[in-house]
Symmetry: D3
Subunit: 236 residues, 6 copies
């Protein structure tokens, strides 16, 4: 039994440049292979993810790393340019995100879990949830014409799996290699792994895909939970 | 076994002009019949709920629709005048709502569930919860004198029942007709139903009252959950 | 706001002779005062609740203590006579309990929480839940004629409140004294309190009524949670 | 996005002859149309579901009704022959069910929710869960050879939706008519609807499919929740 | 079995001057006795906690009461000076709190539960959670050097225990007397108890310590729940 | 911060001969090193855990494997001798387990989670929970004298972590090697790993300890959840 993403337009809404690589890139890659259009919306600049040896133009560096990863995936890239650690669900940022939704016109949105460990991630989740409603509201003016219907919305796993109750699993076994290549683009962040105060991201990601895979009977999986709220619910 | 609302002062705090009609008007009508005083506090203008054929002075139109519905119910009406889609739990809006609480002086507040599908609804819930505490705090200056005790607070069902776990049910069978008449006042919104991107509200409302009624052994019911927080809890 | 038990027939289904005194006697007393008929069904003999100085004919002693407490309450008493520590949801015991339901014909059943601390209590809960369904099934032969409809069912608090999430509270302030008198009938059990391996039951009971009262804004309360399952749900 | 049941062998394990019609027949019909093999395992005889005017050979009547419904669906039928109201998770009944699993060899099992309203349904759920594990254990001797791997297992919705949290929805819009025809085969049960102590089953079923459909954006849906336990979990 | 706080640096982050006394002072006292360094960070001034007879310079009075209580405990005191009822998780207040974390350098943070009854408490919880992450982020500039690792974080009980599910209990029996002395320092607040709209705080606190103690087999206990989010989780 | 098991008597109650190795052996080894007495109670014979090439005297073989593992740990071994797949919470097996409790006299019991994936594991959990209460009841006759107080009880993680919400984590980093050696004793079971229908147990165990370790900031951890029921709760 397989979910097909064939006619979908999948938009991942994440906080930082490497979050999709950690939590949903396998599913995005699989959807792409199924024929879906993929969008990647990164709300923060990644400007505070400094390695031990600080990088002065970090935001620009991370933007390039991100662009490289998005190219590997074949995803259209959207950046909201908010400074790390300051993301919150304000009217202004909501409007920005609604406009992005109206440009990409997703049928499915993937975003962080509301119970995620990082304040920026939780803010991204609140923003994506709000935008998933307002993007289809005729009365809300923001960028292009409103969508004809709100997209579905799935909450992503948390890093380390703490506090997340999977609703279902997506088999990403054939796409784990691409996920690793994408993560490898984020060299500024992998550099952080060398200090003891930062987990080795690549190991963490692989370990998590294996653990979720074990729960689901495959080599590698990503876990999600569907948002069943009004008009965002779907029957398969 | 029946709950009597006889000596209560019931204030519904909702986001948009037609929200009470969808989620708690039956209970308000029943409380009114029991002899309770009814207040209806609508935080947003409803200015973005545009039908396919846009209405230029929509906020004014909806205000009139709302007033007509409130008259049917015999409710005192309070409007906070916030623009749709921008409601949030700020100090300013909180102060406005505390002042409304101090005017109406509720013993019971009905508001949206924290897990509701609409960002404005969740903001209304957060505001009502905050006001239910601060309205009785002598140190908080806002409008009239503080209440002598915080009101009880009940969370309302969500539209479509997704994600809401009922704590108890109120039998509204004799008041379903009035609920329908009240909803019928909101002509600008019923007009939206004709497009496929908007559910036929009257059907949705009736279907939900029946489903909740089936769960509770009556023709029509509304579901609620009591907020058991400090000083808002009650024993019946 | 008060729930009236006026026309109800309330049956408490508990495991041991003193369980009602600990967890629901205040509500039973109040229902009695409202004019309800009260039944008390005790499934086990209490034959293993030995104090430090063992009582040889303990089951008989406890039966007398129980009868005295039931008299104070004005409750009709039903005993199923199962040996302590062996209660389980078998067809035989189920049939016994269905027959009791068909004699007393309750409209409301109070029983232990499924998450209770004591294996006999959990078995009593499972039995009461099953009987609340089968008592109204024409095809099930057990004692008198089937009820015309299943009774409502409420789960009682746990001793010490661990693991129980109250759905609502019943104000028992005027009935706390009677509850204490009823508990005082169980002298064989109060004797156990003198050893350090057994909590002083009267203190524990009073402390719990106060704590639930504090949560609900009254001097003393008992907490319950309604079972919303098919045909056992009610609207108030 | 659609789940395809094409290569599955789907076995519904229910307690009574009409339970599949109420809770999963739409999904079974859809799976059948996808090309899946369908099995229907009914554990009880339905011998106690008496209408007002009792039917003397009720078990035989219901067996015929069931066979007619299964024919409409094109399902292979398995009956365990337990008397209504006595189903429990014993070694003997477990063995019977394991043997049925080893004959039909399911890849996906649908069964009642553990929190269902009916004691027989909960027993069926426990039995199906146990059999989903032991059917693939080489050391357990029961009927044919063990399966090479445990099937996936999905919990079905409860009647009336009380207490069930959907994990995902299956669109059954094109199969609602067949579901109604199947339910119409159970004439002995529909006869019960005429008394006020029994809900009109056909209405209840249709209302529930609509309500679940509203939550999921389709005309009619059935809700399920996947069992993620060891070896029963799947990635899609 | 005992947890030792010997080498910890424990920082309580609370909203109002008397919140630590109500919810965690016993644990702080015990940690102090174990040899831990104790910090107490109070985010609001307490300027709106007016007794019936208003105190004009209330913030100053409460600051003195707080200082006296902190002295009894031997805690380093940090005050963020926000006005009561206006606390929220803004970038500015977050930065203030991050700077406080970087001065005290906690290994363990105690803060309000996210489901607490008071809006300021919930804001304090959100701020402490955010600061527990950002305090260790090299890219975030705020006061002193970043911590080498995020502290552990425990959620405190709610006043009245409503809505809080304890993860574990800390035995504070030997420290209850000190907790009471600390609470007695807050004379402006105890004065509020005389009116019927304000619970007698000392009774409430003692009752809660006893109830949690009963759940945990000791005279007096405080309940907590560990935050298991990324890098805040710990193994004991 | 560390929990010390120094004066404890820790009894693991598991279903099959290799379950402790998979879920709690690290904690047992650490408790042993702290000076605790360790008991290992295995309820089933393991007689149905057949590898591809069946072993005729499997129960005897597994008994030897188990004894070897217990010797490595320094644990006193108790076997209840129930046949695999037939374990249930009957009066008889309960009595057997109560007698074992009264011989070993535990202060802390570790057992399977109630939500575990395996029916025998869930039965073991129910039995251990029941025994943790009845072992201290003077009225229950079973083997030696009753304990003076019920032991604490912790629920263990599930295999694969599905459905288990950790309450706290025990650092077992120094004991992972011993855990692996103990598991290696179960050669009959490791032989099963070679077939594709059985997970490679050693990998699964190591992966799980790492994943739980990642959540808790250590190399390897085991997750538990405390049972807070009456008299089984503890304050640390």
């Amino acid at each position: 039994m397989k979910l097909s993403f064939a006619n979908e337009r999948v938009l991942a809404v994440v906080a930082h440049p490497d979050d999709a690589e950690l939590l949903c890139a396998g599913t995005l890659a699989r959807a792409r292979a199924d024929g879906a259009a993929i969008g990647l919306c990164v709300l923060c600049q990644g400007d505070k993810g400094q390695p031990a040896k600080p990088i002065s133009n970090l935001a620009a560096v991370r933007r390039r790393e991100l662009a490289a990863a998005a190219r590997l995936l074949g995803a259209e890239l959207f950046c909201a340019g908010v400074s790390d650690g300051t993301l919150s669900d304000t009217t202004l940022t909501r409007q920005k995100l609604i406009a992005i939704f109206r440009r990409f016109r997703p049928t499915l949105v993937l975003t962080h879990a509301l119970e995620d460990y990082h304040p920026d991630h939780r803010a991204a989740a609140a923003l994506a949830e709000a935008a998933s409603w307002f993007c289809a509201s005729r009365g809300h003016k923001a960028g292009a014409a409103p969508l004809t219907a709100p997209p579905a919305l799935w909450w992503m796993d948390t890093l380390n799996m703490s506090g997340f109750v999977p609703g279902f699993y997506v088999d990403i076994s054939p796409y784990l290699a691409l996920k690793e290549q994408m993560l490898a683009c984020h060299r500024s962040q992998l550099a952080r792994s060398k200090r003891k105060d930062f987990a080795p991201l690549a190991d963490l990601m692989r370990q998590q895909c294996q653990a979720r895979g074990s729960q689901a009977g495959v080599t590698a999986a990503e876990a999600f939970c569907a948002h069943h709220a009004f008009k965002r619910g779907r029957a398969w």
